[in-house]
């Protein structure tokens, strides 16, 4: 199985993707030492990806932004508890999820995502004069909406984290504190359910 790049847009892509946790050498140590510039670099490094995670759980972009800011502040306050550079981003993801859920309130108590991700997919296609692109985006949105409706909350969450927030399996596993194998099983099971739901509607995938 080939997974997409974690974040293909440039902004927020770690410059040292192969380094532990994606942090440049020495940054984690400077950050733990309370260096202000290191804090700023960590924020710039992860904020775009983290915003993508927060947007899955928050009611609005403003709520997501606030959850992201709170998460970085907490990361700084509790930096001594972070064991190593590879733990930084999963810790941020878990924190931003908790913060966004706390803000969104009742929707999550009903195990619902406050924002239908398909809506955002559909809206992205609406570029004036590009009717074909718009139609394709609308089609994808409908497929995503139909498929996600067949999933249980936990399966839906890993699919959204994997394909929409663009997290790697190991990042989802660390964020949700479940074995990486379990994440893989959840994704495969969810994909199978989505295919079945789509097949019931005459769409073969």
């Amino acid at each position: 199985m080939v997974y997409p790049p974690a974040f293909p847009h440039g902004a927020g892509v770690p410059e040292h993707a192969d380094a532990p946790g994606g942090l440049p050498p020495g940054l984690f140590e400077r950050f733990q030492g309370g260096d202000e510039q290191a804090l700023r670099e960590v924020v710039v490094l992860f904020e775009a990806r983290l915003f993508g995670v927060a947007r899955l759980y928050a009611r609005s972009a403003e709520d997501a932004e606030e959850a992201v800011q709170d998460s970085f502040l907490r990361l700084y306050v509790y930096r001594a508890r972070i064991h190593g550079p590879e733990a930084v981003f999963p810790w941020l993801c878990a924190t931003v999820r908790r913060e966004a859920i706390r803000q969104s309130g009742t929707a999550w108590r009903r195990h619902e995502f406050p924002v239908d991700p398909a809506d955002l997919v559909e809206m992205q296609g609406g570029v004036e004069g590009e009717q074909v692109r718009l139609a394709e985006a609308e089609y994808r949105a409908e497929v995503v909406r139909s498929g996600l409706a067949a999933l249980r909350p936990k399966e839906r969450e890993v699919i959204l984290l994997r394909y929409f927030a663009g997290l790697q399996l190991k990042e989802i596993a660390a964020m949700r504190q479940i074995p990486m194998g379990t994440v893989g099983v959840l994704i495969q099971r969810a994909l199978a359910k989505m295919r079945k739901r789509l097949a019931d509607r005459g769409l073969e995938y």
Partner: protein
Amino acid sequence: MSEKGENDLEALLEQAGEEWRARAADGRRRSVADGVVQAVRDSGSGPSHAGAAWTTARLRLAAVFVAAVVLVASGLAVHWATRPSGAIHLVAKQGDVRIDRGGQEGTAIEAGAVLDTGARGSAIVTLDDGRVQCYMARNTAVAVVSSGEVRLDSGRIWVNVRTDSGRFDVRAPGLDVVVTGTRFAVSVEGGEGRVFVVEGSVSASSGGSGQSVGGGSLAAPRPGGGVDVTIPDAPPAWVGQTRAEFEVLAATRYFPSGNLSGNAE
């Protein structure tokens, strides 16, 4: 399902995810880097002090919480400790009523006193500063252990316990009754206690094993321990008789206004 089909779904999700991230990124107004750094500065004299400031705030919050818990616990402890300290009064009596200490109508009774009504006697004792009213029918012997506890040795009693009273205990041969805000009658028959609850509920136990008894239920000791609880179609005759006697004596000698409800005061 073909391999191609599986790849198509994932490719579609990847494409949809990419579009979603781009759309979601449009909602971002600005980098939060400046905001985070500023928040860290505001929380202390500098980034390296932010953790200490945060920790101090949390410690203060924890201290307030602990203080609140201590206050509540102290209040409960004081309430429990002072529960039996309310005054005990013999507020009404009729006919032959013997009491081993104190004993004039309208006067206080010392804790530990034993009251005994004769064949034509009856009495009302209030405990816990009037929050508990206890009517003694004829041929009844009651030891007032404290303001929160009486022991019924023989006869019948009718008890009103106000909801603002603390715990109140009635001990009868083979039966212990614990109440907080209810009305009930207790009698001793054949050397054994039994309780009928009119309102609310009591905890009745025998031989160390007990259970809750609700309104309209009759509880009696079970041989070997525990209590048997039944729900009769109507209150036993002795209950109605005891209650009626209480109301007559109270209306004529203690509650001229006619307010007989222990919970209505």
